[in-house]
Symmetry: C2
Subunit: 287 residues, 2 copies
């Protein structure tokens, strides 16, 4: 297991962590100030400053990317399926322009939440079937761009509205079905927040192996959690044994960034430099 205690060269910042404190340009400047050498930007933050400007800012700063957030939201009624497909193709194009190593997929839940305006459904099995088909279609496009897809299993608390792929096992089942040869075109993005509770975690990470482990995200699970979406904790403030999960992915040969992604109504109120200083300190001690 790599020693993170002396530097933060393997820290990547998911830009949602400081989305309220400044635009992507300001975040990139802050990363330079703090010696953070990689980010994972969100599409809306890229769109806000324009793709070309974002590409240039990343390049000028010499920043590495650990992913691009996000594609997905596949379940939709018939009237919204083309929208989902086209939107995901644009995400691939943007990720390629930015030089992202993979595109993170938040696959979507029931169609009325995944693609608003879609007819309401309670059929989660049907949503899962649409996710499978949607990823299959997107994969063909992404392969042309040599852009790997990283399915992110989300915590079951988000099954209805954000992602109906809720376990590492389910995500890997999709990978195996669509890419039995383990070509590298598809894998998983594992965030400790979503998977720490899973009793099958160590076995599924071993099943993934290095080939399928495309991204590793950290934050913490707070007790109590005050907001189901935006009360993620800074690493060390919650109950997740983060080092234990990192040791599992590194035992498979994962040697990429440890990406910090914290959606938090609390941390969003703090100055960007304070957040980044804290991220770096915790990266060294508890990640």
């Amino acid at each position: 297991m790599r020693d993170f205690s002396h530097d933060h060269r393997w820290l990547s910042l998911n830009t949602a962590t400081v989305r309220k404190q400044g635009d992507l340009t300001a975040i990139i400047e802050a990363c330079a100030r703090h010696g953070i050498r990689a980010i994972d930007p969100w599409r809306d933050q890229v769109a806000a400053i324009g793709l070309e400007r974002a590409v240039r800012a990343v390049k000028d700063a010499g920043l590495d990317l650990s992913g691009y957030c996000r594609g997905g939201m596949f379940p939709a009624d018939a009237a919204h399926r083309a929208e989902a497909r086209d939107d995901n193709r644009r995400a691939v194009d943007e990720a390629a322009a930015l030089g992202a190593p993979c595109i993170v997929l938040v696959v979507g839940g029931l169609p009325q939440y995944s693609r608003p305006g879609s007819a309401a459904s309670k059929d989660i099995a049907a949503a899962r079937s649409q996710v499978h088909d949607g990823i299959a279609e997107m994969l063909e496009y992404a392969k042309q761009a040599k852009l790997p897809l990283a399915i992110e299993p989300l915590h079951p608390a988000y099954a209805a509205d954000r992602a109906c792929v809720n376990t590492t096992k389910h995500a890997l089942d999709i990978c195996d079905a669509l890419d039995p040869a383990r070509s590298g075109a598809i894998g998983v993005a594992l965030d400790v927040y979503h998977i720490w509770w899973d009793p099958e975690l160590i076995d599924q990470i071993a099943r993934a192996g290095r080939n399928r482990l495309l991204a590793f995200h950290v934050c913490d699970w707070l007790v109590p959690t005050k907001d189901i979406l935006n009360d993620r904790g800074m690493m060390g403030d919650g109950v997740i044994d983060i080092k234990s999960v990192r040791s599992m992915v590194e035992a498979q040969g994962f040697a990429g960034y440890s990406e910090i992604e914290i959606f938090s109504n609390d941390w969003w109120t703090k100055p960007m430099d304070e957040v980044l200083r804290t991220c770096i300190a915790r990266h060294r001690t508890v990640v």
Copy 2:
């Protein structure tokens, strides 16, 4: 699948649903007014009026029980283990006195939440090991009282603080380990709120079979969920396909009560009779 549309003979009321509106005596009186013939009382509500009085009230009202809530909270540090054991034995004694058909187990999460005062830990695997050992010990005591134990897998959102058994599969693994002969001494209590998201649900319910299906609870999952503990929905107000889950348990021969358990800051503010009328109406239409 049984037809619930014409009456509510298979409706049981978990008394936590109206815990803020009155004590157990008032709840039992309200059940009589509404023709509800079964309840699942909570220990604190029984204690508040006294066990003897509760036993008499249940008997005088001719009420059936669908369970007793709850035993469990097994993980504890060494200083609190005897407390956990003794507390669970008292739960068995109370359940036997009340004539409950089973005792529902909320197994507990990390020791600092499960048995407050216990030393803090982030080792969820160790907590799970303690749960296994704690149930094994309690099972010996419960067998003497001929009181079946019903392990309730809780939604992964509660893994840290309430129950580290979060899937039907995990609960059944414990049942199989402790009672391979399927004697009837141990099984599961399945609440749609906790399990609806599980992609393995239908297979695991089939694995449980009638022998292991000791209780079936209903409410609904709201989107958005405003409070992680106390924002459960009335059946029909959320995204769970409740009939589909009931059809799965009934396909295995389950023919017991459909127990309504709603922890809700909203429903707790409404008059008890309004809540019960709504429960009955929804039981007939969406359960």
